[in-house]
Every structure is written in structure tokens, then in C-alpha cells.
């Protein structure tokens, strides 16, 4: 087995990186892939709570890097999907506890064990971001259809080109088709015109994302919500499948009610 390392980055905070990492990892694992996700946000760990695995943490990423435990010991197995693992971030340390070469070494060891390594980058473009992309074969850049998120995504895409980690693939998160329709939100086409990169996913705004994070059960686990389907589609595209983008305009009241818990 030789894993593909995929890093999710954004520049701006709060655009949905952690949610996406959890859901893409869950979607890949639900398709029979062996997946390990790594929380790269040292000091501000959150991937554990989104995945509902916060009570199982014994060792973390920094413990592995500093040799206090073996890699296997820091890999927390998911409750629902036996082929999904999480390596949590350390909560009481900062980004300088890890270097880009540490990440490369760790991922090289892990590559033999799994099909996919999904890394959650912290916000920003400093050390944490550099750590998160060091081992990446592919970087997904998350944005929202909103000026500051698009601007920061552009900066990250430029940095990835400069670091020879490009071309980045874009995920547009929290798209509200009704707002786009009335001209009050940048459309997918607008964002692609501005950023000029390949698109790999469009996630519609979906209340179920909050419900799922409340419960620690990523919504890609159940196929009913639009956002969950959108994450499943990203997973399929990562696996090399040609999947058409969902028609978000056609979401009627009936579908909305079905999608809601």
C-alpha cells in the first residue's frame, strides 16, 4: 500500500476545513478505503470532536514525533468505520513542536499502512500550514463564496504554486443557491473566474453540518443530506471517478425536509 497524502488548507479560518477533512475521510473509509486523518492544528485541536473521538485520545501527533509512543499507538480507530483512524493534534503545545521534515518522515512511515492520509491544516500561512503541506501529494483549498475567503484562498493557491505543491484543487463550501440566484452571493462560476483553478467540490449550505458536529457524527455517514452527498462526491473524485457536480438549484421543499433531522 502506498497512501496518497491529501492536505486541506484555506488561509482563512472558519471556512470548513476540519468539517471537510472529517467528512472526506469518512466518505473514503465508507468506500472501503483505509484512511488516516491527521489534525495539523496543534494547540487548537478539533478534528477529534468533529469525528466524535475525543474521549479515546491517549497519545497525539507530537508524542509520535518526539518518540514517546509508536505511530500505531497514536492512531485512534473510528467507532463506526474500522478502516478509519485519527492522529490527533497535541492540545498543550504549539506549531513549532513539529517541523515540515517531521511531517514528511511521519507520512512516509504511514504511507505503507493506509490508502489515504488526509491532513487538516490550521488557518494561516505560517509554520502550521507549511507543516501540513510538506508531505502532501495533493492540496485541496477550501473557500466560501465570500470576499475574504476567496482572497485568502488565492493567496494560498499562489503559495502552493511557489512551493511546487500545486496545482491546487478548489472546494467551495457553504454555497447558498437561493442567495446566488438573487445575486447576493458569488456563484461557482464567479469564484472559478477569479481563482482560475480546478474545482473538486461544491458543498451547499446545510444546517445538518451543525447537527452532525453536535453529535460527533460526520454527515457523510448518512447519504441523505446534500452536503453529505457533496462530500461523498469529493471522495469519489479523489479516487479518480468522473462525478458530475450536483444540481443545487433543483433542491425543492420536499428534499429539504427529508435532508433535515
Amino acid at each position: 500500500m502506498t497512501a496518497k497524502v491529501v492536505t486541506v488548507a484555506s488561509g482563512k479560518g472558519g471556512v470548513g476545513k476540519t468539517t471537510s477533512v472529517a467528512n472526506i475521510a469518512v466518505a473514503l473509509a465508507s468506500r472501503g478505503q483505509k484512511v488516516t486523518c491527521i489534525d495539523g492544528d496543534i494547540g487548537l485541536r478539533n478534528l477529534d470532536v468533529i469525528l466524535g473521538l475525543e474521549n479515546r485520545i491517549v497519545y497525539d501527533l507530537v508524542d509520535v514525533i518526539e518518540g514517546r509512543c509508536r505511530l500505531r499507538q497514536a492512531m485512534i480507530r473510528d467507532k463506526r468505520l474500522p478502516e478509519l483512524y485519527l492522529i490527533p493534534a497535541a492540545q498543550t503545545r504549539d506549531k513549532t513542536a513539529v517541523s515540515p521534515s517531521d511531517m514528511v518522515r511521519l507520512c512516509d512511515e504511514l504511507r505503507q499502512e493506509v490508502d489515504w492520509i488526509i491532513i487538516d491544516s490550521p488557518a494561516g500561512i505560517e509554520r502550521g500550514f507549511k507543516n501540513a503541506i510538506a508531505a502532501a501529494d495533493r492540496v485541496l483549498v477550501m473557500t466560501n463564496p465570500e470576499v475574504s475567503a476567496v482572497r485568502d484562498a488565492d493567496r494560498v493557491i499562489g503559495l502552493l504554486d511557489a512551493e511546487e505543491k500545486g496545482p491546487a484543487a478548489l472546494v467551495i463550501n457553504r454555497l447558498d443557491p437561493a442567495m446566488v440566484k438573487r445575486g447576493d452571493m458569488l456563484s461557482v462560476e464567479d469564484v472559478l473566474d477569479l481563482l482560475a483553478v480546478e474545482l473538486i467540490g461544491i458543498i451547499p449550505e446545510d444546517e445538518n453540518v451543525i447537527v452532525a458536529s453536535n453529535r460527533g457524527q460526520p454527515l457523510a455517514l448518512d447519504g441523505k443530506s446534500k452536503a453529505g452527498q457533496a462530500f461523498q462526491n469529493i471522495a469519489r473524485r479523489l479516487m479518480g471517478e468522473q462525478v458530475p457536480f450536483m444540481d443545487l438549484e433543483s433542491q425543492n421543499l420536499f428534499q429539504r425536509l427529508l435532508g433535515r433531522k
Binding site: 465570500e146 470576499v147 476567496v150 482572497r151 488565492d154 493567496r155 493557491i157 499562489g158 504554486d161 446566488v180 438573487r182 445575486g183 447576493d184 452571493m185 458569488l186 456563484s187 464567479d190 473566474d193 477569479l194 481563482l195 482560475a196 483553478v197
Partner: protein
């Protein structure tokens, strides 16, 4: 509704137009003041060799995918024996 009544531009269009300018400056690390100073230098240099109409010179950063292109339109001043208006276009 208010926007409709007053014929105001859709906010998504404002967002796109503003971002287009911001991204050009972010990517080239050049402010519009610096661009203007480049334009002045360009006019001065070209004027030493050929007569141009300095008021009609335009200089812009155009986007070509993720790469930027400096596009200058420099109309030449017509001499007596020339017919019509000629313009030189420099792309760099």
C-alpha cells in the same frame, strides 16, 4: 427590494469586481499608486523616442488564468504626413 427600487448593483457583482482588483494587487504585489508611477516612467521613456499622446495612455494588469500580464495601450501622436491615428501596443 431597496436595491431593486434604486437600481443598485447586485452585491455579488460588487464582490466580484472588487475581488478582481484586489487579487491583481495581491498577486503582483503592486498598488495602483505604483502602477501609476510605472505609467509615468513609461510615458517619459517612450516620449524620448517617439511622440505619443500622454493623456491617452492606458496601462492595466490583465489576467490570463493564474498569470498576470501588463498591457499598455500607447497611442502615437499623428504626424502631418500620416493619415488617421496609429497606436502602438506593448505587451510585457
Amino acid at each position: 427590494m431597496m436595491a431593486f427600487l434604486f437600481g443598485r448593483k447586485k452585491s455579488a457583482n460588487s464582490a466580484k469586481e472588487r475581488l478582481q482588483l484586489v487579487l491583481i494587487h495581491d498577486r503582483t504585489d503592486m498598488t495602483s499608486a505604483e502602477l501609476n508611477s510605472l505609467k509615468d516612467d513609461l510615458i517619459e521613456t517612450i516620449s524620448r523616442h517617439i511622440e505619443i499622446d500622454p493623456t491617452a495612455v492606458t496601462i492595466n494588469v490583465a489576467q490570463d488564468g493564474r498569470s498576470q500580464r501588463l498591457v499598455a495601450d500607447i497611442p502615437l501622436r499623428t504626424l502631418g504626413h500620416r493619415r488617421g491615428r496609429e497606436s502602438g501596443r506593448a505587451v510585457g
